[in-house]
């Protein structure tokens, strides 16, 4: 097919001065949206939709798409610097990214994140160009039963996050799953565990909880040290060492793959690929104890996964007209408002437009790298400010972020409470990551289980009679067994063999 011709045409359209400008504005705005609290990509994109009424459709879509994947990068900045995820998907980067920042390698973390994101995004876009339609068809096979099995795989990976105590990791995961049940039951509509508080009808907000557990707790821990040392970041350390490069390359590759494949499946959401990439990397590592203490792969893998996901998730939208996540649904709304319905027919009706948008993804990823890398050192310098200002700044940031989600003061209280809890957990070394993962997976698991049973009229065998689902269930079992056995590092095995 003349894909190449189309792509060339698209590229020349994307490189027109006007569209280039739109891509640039979109990247900048997107990064800003990712950094600023309370303004997630979905809300930010939605606010900008009326702007697109005045622009021509191609330009508008280029800009909105750029905002979308730009925001994925912006969220990383705050995760690394102040342990507060700028947007939900950046949660995982906090774990090792912030530790690196505390060790004076914040610039390196941001740099590797930028590079990893770039690789992830470019790869996903290439794949979009080459293999999009057939892959998308396969992804369609993921119905509710397959989804449930996939989430189960994710759950079984939790054991890799437990840190020192496997039992504690499991308990935290169960707690996370349970907390996710607070609110109105998604299938039947009955309120659960809401204690009569209307603000709880939609459950505990993910962002306030995470801002509290990570950001506020970090601040509470920080003020304890009587003599706060200023972190020194010298410019030389902005560049990763050879050792770090070596480790990151593999992580970036694997993260990209994971992010890409999960991006093809509608409904997965942006957080799950980052978690999976992180845990996968940790399992593969010969020195997993480094994770959580500033392992560079712990930043490289989720960041690549993040951007690979974001770009790959456009595939179901463009080829089939199916939005993969709420943010993409907003993008789809933008398409529709401009009179275009994404899907196979749009490819045929308006190839010029679709290919211009796709070409702009290449452009956007390059722009993001160019825009962000030079500033990495500058961002890292923020941590050089006297710690009082960093603390107060972070707290202000968190307050705004928690409040602006729903204009509800209740969310601020939730954040404060989670801050205290997070502080306690860190003190006694109780793992937080499994709790967060449980919180994320809970709704998916329950919803897909019950929808599957609606499809089968209550027959559980649906999970075993669908081939793809069965494969995934076996995979989940394998992951669980492998984790439980905790295969010892190669050195020990070699030593005992010799």
């Amino acid at each position: 097919m003349d894909t190449l011709t189309h792509l060339m045409a698209g590229l020349s359209a994307a490189l027109s001065l006007q569209n280039f400008a739109f891509a640039l504005i979109g990247c900048v705005l997107g990064t800003l949206i990712g950094v600023l609290p309370g303004l997630g990509p979905a809300a930010g994109t939605a606010i900008l939709i009326p702007l697109t009424f005045k622009l021509d459709p191609t330009g508008a879509l280029i800009m909105l798409s750029a905002i979308y994947y730009g925001a994925m990068y912006g969220g990383t900045i705050t995760s690394v610097l102040i342990n507060v995820p700028g947007e939900a998907a950046s949660v995982v980067t906090c774990i090792d990214g912030h530790q690196m920042a505390k060790q004076g390698r914040g610039g390196t973390a941001l740099g590797i994140a930028a590079i990893g994101s770039f690789v992830g995004g470019i790869f996903a876009t290439f794949a979009l160009v080459i293999v999009a339609p057939p892959l998308a068809q396969v992804a369609l096979k993921f119905g509710p039963p397959e989804f449930f099995a996939l989430m189960l795989v994710g759950l079984c990976l939790i054991t890799g996050l437990g840190g020192r105590s496997l039992l504690a990791g499991l308990v935290m995961a169960v707690l996370g799953l349970l907390i996710a049940m607070i609110g109105i039951d998604p299938v039947r509509g009955a309120p659960r565990f809401t204690l009569g508080i209307p603000s709880l009808y939609d459950g505990l907000g993910f962002i306030p909880v995470v801002m509290g557990l990570f950001g506020v707790a970090e601040i509470l821990l920080a003020v304890q040290q009587p003599h706060r040392q200023v972190i020194k970041t010298d410019l030389a350390s902005l560049i990763p060492s050879r050792e770090e490069w070596r480790r990151s390359i593999g992580a970036i590759g694997r993260g990209t793959g994971i992010g890409f494949f999960l991006g093809l499946i509608p409904g997965v959401g942006s957080i799950i690929p980052t978690f999976v990439a992180y845990v996968f990397e940790k399992r593969l590592s010969k020195t997993p104890e480094r994770f959580g203490n500033g392992a560079i792969e712990g930043v490289a893998a989720p960041e690549s996964a993040n951007n690979a996901y974001a770009n790959a998730a456009m595939i179901p939208l463009l080829t089939l007209g199916i939005p993969s996540s709420p943010t993409i649904a907003v993008l789809m709304g933008a398409f529709i408002i401009n009179g275009l319905t994404p899907g196979p027919f749009l490819f045929q009706e308006r190839p010029d437009l679709v290919w211009a948008v796709i070409a702009s993804f290449f452009l956007g990823n390059i722009l993001l790298l160019v825009l962000n890398l030079p500033f990495v050192g500058l961002w890292a310098r923020i941590l050089h400010l006297p710690y009082q200002y960093v603390c107060v700044g972070t707290l202000t940031f968190c307050i705004i972020g928690a409040y602006s989600l729903q204009q509800n003061v209740f969310d601020i209280y939730v954040m404060i409470a989670c801050g205290v809890i997070g502080y306690g957990m860190r003190k006694i070394d109780m793992p937080i990551a499994p709790l967060v993962l449980g919180l994320i997976l809970g709704p998916f698991l329950e919803k897909s289980l019950r929808t599957s049973l609606e499809m089968s009229a209550g027959d559980f065998s649906i999970f075993f009679t669908r081939p793809l689902c069965l494969v995934l269930l076996v995979l989940a079992a394998v992951v669980l067994v492998a984790s439980a056995l905790r295969l010892p590092p190669r050195e020990i095995r070699e030593a005992s063999a010799g």
């Binding site: 009326p50 009424f53 299938v187 899907g343 009229a457």
Partner: protein, 326 residues
């Protein structure tokens, strides 16, 4: 003497209150307004809300900020709406019959009822539609119903939410075609519905015209029937349920703006004037009709009557839904 003084002071207070309110209404609005949508950004209600907000705010001279309060099928948003002050600065979209079913379903434990709203003006009336994949064996709605009678409880019919207008439409269909029974699968929203139909995980979808018209026109999917007594002007080739022989199966999703109860009549009238003008604006009409969303402006008695009728209808089917075996 004291009594007289008391009367005078009461009179003074009342007068002050009245003039106070009157002035408040005269220079309304003097600060930004909020227009609440009880669903996440990007959905049909949201898009239509943003269009009307961007036009109306020019007329009132103050920003009208669209606020998304999604969750629990709209319950979160409407709960918040009824708790606001009836001063006109916070109004929101109600979706009939979704708002009605939330009130009527005892399990939801809604803290509001139908009297807690001041209906202002209706914007959209989006008729229900039954659609299938383009390669589906069902060519007409009668094919579908025959199949549902032949193997009751096996045909998977998807809704966009539990107790949504789609859900009630399925029940109406079963009522009008005795012996026909569907296996109802509740999904969340039109996008998921589209995905599961294309993936072959469900067999037929009950949704609304606005969500699916583009794909019907492009041939990706086939619409079997529109649940209305007149054909949709966006899909003129699709027969109505009335023409298909099921005149009682009339269902739609109706979206309008309301405020909390207790809004003074002059304020409501003012808002009605502004919003009606915005909805009749050619740009608004074009933007909505381009997407296949049918505008139906209703104010005053007409709207109140429609509300009451929808409520009564929803009551009947909600009770049935709760008692229907799987």
């Amino acid at each position: 003497m004291l009594k007289f003084a008391k009367c005078l002071s009461v009179a003074a207070i009342v007068a002050a209150a009245l003039t106070g309110t009157a002035t408040a209404q005269q220079d309304f609005p003097n600060k930004p307004m909020q227009l609440m949508v009880a669903f996440p950004a990007g959905g049909s209600t949201d898009i239509a809300a943003r269009v009307v907000a961007s036009i109306a705010e020019k007329a009132v001279g103050q920003p009208i900020v669209v606020v998304n309060r999604g969750g629990a099928g709209g319950q979160i948003g409407w709960t918040e709406l009824v708790r606001q002050k009836p001063d006109g600065y916070y109004i929101g979209f109600i979706n009939l019959p979704a708002t009605n079913t939330v009130i009527l379903d005892p399990e939801r434990r809604a803290i509001f009822n139908e009297k807690d709203f001041t209906p202002i003006i209706n914007q959209v009336l989006d008729p229900g539609v039954i659609w299938v994949r383009a390669d589906s064996p069902y060519k007409t709605v009668q094919d579908l119903i025959d199949a549902a009678k032949k193997s009751p409880g096996t045909i998977r019919a998807a809704t966009t939410g539990i107790l949504s207008d789609d859900h009630l439409a399925i029940l109406m269909t079963e009522e009008a075609a005795p012996g026909a029974k569907f296996r109802i699968v509740h999904l969340d929203g039109g996008a998921t519905q589209f995905k599961e139909i294309m993936g072959g995980n469900v067999d037929v979808a009950f949704d609304n015209v606005g969500s699916i018209v583009k794909r019907v026109l492009s041939g990706e999917v086939r619409a079997l029937t529109v649940l209305d007594d007149v054909r949709s002007k966006f899909m003129p080739n699709v027969p109505t349920s009335k023409e298909a022989g099921y005149p009682t199966v009339i269902s739609s999703s109706t979206r309008g703006i309301a405020g909390p109860k207790g809004m003074p009549a002059p304020l409501v009238a003012k808002l009605q004037g502004v919003l009606k003008k915005a909805m009749e604006d050619p740009e608004h009409v074009k933007k909505l009709e381009d997407q296949g969303i049918a505008i139906k402006i209703m104010i005053g008695d007409e709207y109140e009557k429609y509300f009451a009728e929808t409520h009564a209808k929803a009551k009947k089917y909600t009770e049935w839904a709760k008692n229907r075996p799987m």
